[in-house]
Subunit: 119 residues, 2 copies
């Protein structure tokens, strides 16, 4: 990667760290870490999600019990104000990063589109 591209990527990294969505998300994680019940619920939900994701990745069948367990864990998360806020902030952060990604991908998308139009 050229120096200027790398320097810009690092500036972008710093701007993301300093951004409102990232600072709010970080604060939300710290709030959960300090709340034992919320943290247990969060860790349980994350472990279930990771297990299901791993099974999907290796093409293993997901059992009805596992789906029920995941739905229950999600319902608990949504009932907890700190966790519900975390989920909303994760979504907001994802959207911000997707927007950055979309802008950075424009040159390549335009190039590919111009080749499609040339048919």
């Amino acid at each position: 990667m050229s120096l200027s591209l790398q320097a810009l990527a690092r500036q972008l990294e710093q701007a993301i760290r300093d951004s409102e969505p990232f600072r709010e998300l970080k604060q939300a994680y710290e709030d959960i870490r300090r709340d034992e019940a919320a943290y247990r619920m969060f860790a349980n939900f994350r472990d279930i999600q990771l297990r299901l994701h791993e099974k999907q990745m290796r093409g293993a069948a997901i059992l009805p019990d596992e789906i029920e367990q995941a739905q229950k864990a999600m319902a608990l998360v949504q009932q907890n104000a700190k966790l519900a806020r975390l989920m909303a902030l994760e979504q907001q952060m994802s959207m911000t990063l997707a927007e950055v990604q979309h802008i950075a991908m424009k040159p390549l998308e335009e190039l590919h589109r111009s080749m499609m139009e040339g048919d």
Copy 2:
């Protein structure tokens, strides 16, 4: 998205447009566009890839004939110097963009990792 993040994303977009990998890739596409035989091969290969990708996306079975057709199209592409160069430059561009993406994702990755380590 905050103004500073958006401004940086746009600077990054411009830096990608100005980058060596992007300019080389653009030139490679222009070379192919001006070479009728290479362009036909390219369009055929791209159409086959798109068709297979669409089938995969909707979970449809890919027939042995289709795999053979895709392999033949790929072999033709690799035998053509302009197309082989295009494939190599596409790969180089992808790696550059993945590196930018990796740097931009660091804050979120660190945050998630810090929550994993907190168990």
